[in-house]
């Protein structure tokens, strides 16, 4: 018996027919409700083994000795692998910098770093064997922040760096540094009537996707391997996996399995190479599934950041200048730290017109857990700080915080600190106006008519901490700016293959891409695009795999834009081919074939006047049109390493939030009462999904505001790797989230759309904190806000 629960095509037919702009239902929705949708952890193969990872208990240590003999001797164990067993000289991987060892070599640089692998016939057998591996560590001093990382005698996390950033960084423990200078901040500061400064901190957030890292590697007869995996970018994985295995890429065949959320946490490899190594070594299929504890070590987190800001403004409320310095803790390996630095620096001024800026952002190498991609990266950290600054400035000027923001809001044609002109709608002031205009939620909802108290509506909720005592309401606003798509000159493209054929008399489109559907609804949108462009009803979505070209990453809010763009582009090529065929077959039957603008609608070729020329079945006959095409958005360019100038981003997206909170000011507990959002999405291809993205992103921002943080000890070990102590919002923590969707088309983007996923995560956090500040009068310079911060304990 082969692999069961591998992905198969999903077809949407007569029951769901909508094209773009309609809230069609997910093609995978039914399978996901029946429990049949196959996630990576659901994969099963007869005779499969279970892989297990032995990880370092220390954040920084030398591996003095490593003895696997007792583990190997245990019955039921098929293989134990360490660094020395790696098959080729390529023994490191990484998204941008190949600095991450597949297995630790002589030294571990962070808590939880993989040291050895075991394959056994039962997960418990593998665990017991791993416990028998003897590793002798000698602990080394840890580097945990900027001071320890750049001290004169600081241990170097990576000695002998040769990566493309190593030449321009001020210290080898700095991954990347990006200054941006525009105008003359010093001169502008002299014009300011008020100057406010602030130091802010953002804690380490975890993606906390619910489906843990997992996959199944099956060795193939040709010496290659088939890998079924939950990831965000199949081809980037492939590029990193194949060289380590010593296999050509075509012998590593990857198929996307069901993905239980991602949010950036699956951009880097986790167990991909490990499972393949074990499968190739044992000749048996190997399944690896992290549990929640291991998952906290199995993926990168959001960069913790310290941010220093200075803003000035004139008495009439115009911002004069901004200076900032943003230090991001990248942890032990680079992951996407360079891109995070690029975003943090280039978006550090927020969606405001500020002509004179002096900006510096950098990411450190430390012994803390590696940090990389998480929804809104770089921009989330900056937004928390600059929005706090906006409230401070408004207060210093005695102005309403929303009106102050509106006065300085950027609009189309504005110039970014990087010199890039924003050349599509930037309705920042309008979003603020809209979110402020939404009706306010009622007060004291916990009071029931009978005079009782419903604690579920109070801070503390079911824990019964207050019946109204100490509860103060606060309202706060924030707005943010996020780039869409990969930036800084990256060749950001996507590939789509579209097949059109007649099956049982009906035209059917099949869309095949390597896009990682991680829950965002890309597959829904692809079917909608195919219907709109090809005039068909039935669309089959093929599983994502590496048999088709790269779709790029499911990140940076880019998939609807870029892979959606590729599907549209390829559909258009298919349509041209249909029309060619039609002209060849039927062109003599009607002059419009030669003269009119022709469309495909409802399974027919029609003129733009609506006249039917032929049915698709008639045109296609037995022929199947099958086209694979790449599509690119407008090119970007790198930021100048000295001045930060450059057209670095493809598109910007904007969202604004209004948070209403009730704070138990005595106990320091917060109940978010409502979190309203207004966002410009250019064009909502699927309004239901758009709202779902906005509400989900908003909630992750809420989590960062009041509860989510990975805590690290002074020895750089993770203190709370569990869902017991890393808390994410429950349904009782999440308020109603009314959403106002604005659609101002970006003429450069397919259908005018604007990436949706990340912008709502940005402004949610500062809006909640602003509301808590309003309720308490406290400065609150750090997120998450803990009860201790609100009670002075």
């Amino acid at each position: 018996m082969g692999v069961t629960r591998t992905p198969t095509p999903t077809t949407q037919g007569s029951e769901t027919t909508g094209g773009i702009g309609e809230s069609t239902l997910r093609p995978d929705g039914v399978l996901k409700t029946t429990g049949e949708f196959a996630y990576a952890s659901d994969l099963w193969h007869e005779d499969m083994l279970w892989g297990h990872t032995l990880r370092s208990p220390h954040a920084h240590a030398e591996i003095v000795s490593l003895d696997v003999s007792r583990a190997l001797a245990q019955p039921g164990v098929y293989a134990v692998l360490t660094y020395d067993d790696l098959p080729t000289d390529v023994r490191h991987y990484g998204l941008e910098i190949q600095d991450t060892p597949v297995l630790a070599h002589g030294r571990v640089r962070h808590h939880g770093e993989p040291v050895a692998l075991v394959a056994a016939d039962h997960p418990e057998t593998a665990r017991r064997a791993a416990a028998k591996i003897r590793v002798e560590y000698r602990q080394l001093p840890v580097v945990v922040d900027e001071a320890t990382a750049t001290a004169p005698d600081a241990p170097l996390i990576h000695e002998g760096r040769t990566d493309h950033h190593s030449g321009h960084v001020p210290h080898p423990n700095v991954v990347h540094r990006q200054p941006i200078v525009r105008g003359d901040a010093d001169a502008a500061a002299r014009r300011a009537d008020v100057i406010v400064t602030g130091d802010y901190e953002v804690g380490m957030q975890d993606q906390a996707f619910l489906g843990p890292e997992s996959g199944l590697a099956v060795p193939a007869e040709d010496g290659g391997v088939d890998l079924y995996i939950a990831t965000q970018w199949l081809h980037a994985d492939l590029r990193q996996i194949a060289p380590v295995l010593g296999l050509p890429e075509e012998k590593v065949r990857m198929t996307l399995s069901g993905v239980g959320g991602a949010f950036g946490g699956r951009e880097d490899l986790s167990m991909q190479i490990h499972a393949c190594l074990l499968a190739l070594r044992t000749g048996k299929p190997v399944k690896m599934v992290y549990n929640r504890f291991e998952s906290f070590f199995g993926h990168v987190h959001r960069h913790p950041a310290t941010l220093h800001y200075e803003h000035g403004a004139t008495r009439d409320g115009k911002i004069t200048h901004m200076r900032c310095r943003i230090v991001l803790d990248g942890g032990a390996y680079a992951s996407s730290s360079p891109a995070v630095v690029g975003n943090a620096s280039s978006l550090s001024a927020g969606p405001y017109v500020i002509d004179d800026v002096d900006i510096e952002a950098l990411a450190l190498y430390t012994n803390n857990p590696p940090c990389g991609a998480m929804r809104g990266f770089g921009a989330v950290q900056a937004c928390f700080a600059y929005e706090a600054q906006m409230d401070k400035l408004a207060a210093a000027l005695g102005m309403d915080p929303v009106e102050f923001r509106r006065l300085n809001a950027m609009s189309q044609g504005a110039v970014m600190p990087t010199g890039q002109v924003v050349d599509s709608p930037a309705p920042v002031a309008e979003l603020l106006r809209r979110v402020k205009a939404m009706p306010m939620p009622p007060e004291r909802e916990w009071e029931s008519a009978g005079g009782g108290v419903d604690v579920r509506a109070l801070p503390g909720g079911l824990s019964n901490t207050t019946h109204g005592e100490g509860v103060v309401r606060g309202v706060g606003y924030a707005v943010g700016i996020k780039n869409v798509g990969f930036s800084e000159g990256f060749d950001d493209y996507s590939t789509a293959r579209v097949r059109l054929e007649v099956i049982a008399g009906e035209p059917v489109a099949t869309v095949h891409t390597a896009m990682a559907e991680v829950g965002q609804g890309g597959v829904t949108v692809h079917a909608q695009i195919a219907r709109t462009e090809l005039g068909v009803t039935q669309v089959t979505i093929d599983p994502a795999d590496t048999r088709v070209g790269s779709a790029g990453s499911t990140s940076a809010s880019r998939q609807t834009y870029v892979t959606g763009g590729a599907v549209r582009h390829t559909c258009q090529a298919v349509r041209e081919r249909v029309l060619e065929l039609g002209r060849a077959k039927l062109g003599t039957h009607h002059p419009a074939w030669a003269t009119a603008e022709l469309l495909l609608e409802s399974g027919k070729v029609v003129t733009d006047d609506g006249e039917v020329l032929a049915g698709l079945a008639e045109v296609l006959g037995d022929e199947a049109i099958d086209i694979e095409r790449e599509w690119r958005h407008r090119p970007t360019e790198p930021f100048d390493l000295r001045t930060g100038q450059g057209r670095g981003h493809v598109q910007y997206s904007f969202a604004a939030h209004r948070a209403v909170v009730d704070v138990d000011t005595e106990l320091g507990l917060v109940k978010v009462v409502e979190l309203a959002c207004a966002q410009d999405v250019g064009k909502a291809l699927n309004p239901l999904s758009v709202v779902g993205q906005i509400q989900g992103g908003t909630t992750q921002g809420l989590g960062l505001a009041v509860m989510e943080e990975i805590l690290v000890s002074d020895r750089a070990t993770v203190r709370n790797p569990s869902f017991t102590d890393y808390l994410i919002p429950t349904i009782l923590d999440t308020p109603p989230i009314p959403v106002d969707v604005l659609e101002l088309a970006d003429d450069h983007a397919p259908y005018g759309l604007r990436g949706v996923g990340e912008a709502p995560t940005l402004s949610s956090t500062p809006a909640v904190v602003a509301a808590i500040r309003a309720a308490t009068g406290l400065a609150l310079r750090r997120v998450p806000v803990r009860p201790e911060n609100l009670t002075g304990t």
């Binding site: 665990r127 549990n291 504890f293 029931s448 009978g450 005079g451 009782g452 108290v453 419903d454 604690v455 579920r456 801070p459 503390g460 909720g461 079911l462 824990s463 019964n464 901490t465 207050t466 019946h467 005592e469 100490g470 005595e666 106990l667 320091g668 507990l669 109940k671 009041v706 509860m707 805590l711 203190r719 709370n720 569990s722 017991t724 102590d725 808390l727 919002p729 429950t730 349904i731 009782l732 923590d733 803990r786 009860p787 201790e788 009670t791 304990t793």
Partner: protein, 295 residues
């Protein structure tokens, strides 16, 4: 690992006598977490799910004899009148799914200082019915907790039931967590007024190595209520008395800094909870309650 499935209480006791290291498992909400995360590998698991006696309770004259494995959900649904403090605490345990499986007996067996049922047991007054093939003993709940995650059970003993004094007056429970549901206590506080004896009792959770009563606070408040004649006068508790009671409660705790909260915050929160729960219980005693709705 062995898995024993006694069908009766007698079989369970015999099994425990034969395998003193056996780990009893009923709701599994603690034991299975430890097994799933490789924190514990008992030689023997002793499944108590089939011992029906453990799932029953009897309401007596003075006490409720609560079977050790009665799920929290049943406590909330059926015993809110007799054991209001425990029912309030039960409602804050984990999630609905956990409340369907977890039990007071499990909380006692695990003896985590963060267990939600400890403060109301301490405040109400309770005895643990510990049984072995050697016989039965009733252990006052104050004496049951002997250290962090340690209790007074002998290796061959199992918890048969908890005898909890029926409420003779208002009771309250309050727990601080950093989430509005499904949260482990940063600290917790239980308070019971006992008008019959004109005393008050308390329980502190998650702010000392074991759950504890705030003895000096109880003595102070009991005395103050008496001296001021408040049990009979229908007057509210003077703010100065409430404040001192709260300070004494905080002083009775010996909290630590950990990932869930700081020691200083825990003391502070206990102070606030003590003052508030005193206000709620006293209001209820005076008959002008505005108590939380149990939906």
């Amino acid at each position: 690992m062995d898995f024993l499935r006694p069908a009766t209480w007698e079989e369970a006791l015999a099994a425990k006598a034969e395998h003193p290291t056996a780990v009893p498992i009923a709701g599994g909400t603690d034991v299975m977490v430890e097994i799933n995360f490789d924190h514990r590998r008992p030689d023997v698991l002793l499944d108590l799910n089939r011992v029906v006696d453990l799932y029953e309770w009897e309401v007596g004259e003075e006490t409720v004899r609560l079977g050790a494995a009665v799920p929290y959900t049943r406590v909330i649904e059926a015993l809110g009148r007799e054991l209001p403090g425990l029912a309030l605490a039960a409602r804050t345990v984990g999630s609905p799914q956990i409340r369907n499986r977890g039990s007071v007996g499990g909380n006692l067996g695990a003896a985590s200082p963060a267990g939600d049922s400890h403060p109301p047991l301490l405040a109400a007054g309770a005895e643990v019915e510990a049984v072995s093939v050697r016989g039965t003993r009733l252990i006052p709940v104050e004496e049951f907790y002997t250290g962090v995650k340690r209790n007074a059970l002998a290796p061959d003993e199992l918890i048969r039931a908890v005898h909890i004094a029926k409420a003779d007056g208002p009771q309250q429970f309050s727990k601080v967590g950093t989430r509005n549901a499904m949260v482990i206590a940063v600290c917790a506080f239980g308070l019971a007024l006992h008008p019959a004896t004109r005393t008050v009792r308390t329980g502190i959770g998650s702010a000392a190595p074991t759950p504890v009563r705030a003895g000096t606070a109880e003595e102070f408040l009991t005395a103050a209520l008496e001296e001021e004649g408040l049990w009979d006068s229908g007057r509210t508790v003077p703010p100065s008395v409430a404040r001192q009671f709260a300070d004494l409660v905080a002083a009775c705790a010996s909290p630590i800094d950990d990932v869930r909260g700081s020691a200083a915050y825990r003391r502070h929160a206990l102070r606030v909870m003590a003052r508030r729960t005193l206000g709620w219980t006293w209001d209820e005693y005076l008959g002008n309650e505005r108590s939380a709705r149990c939906a």
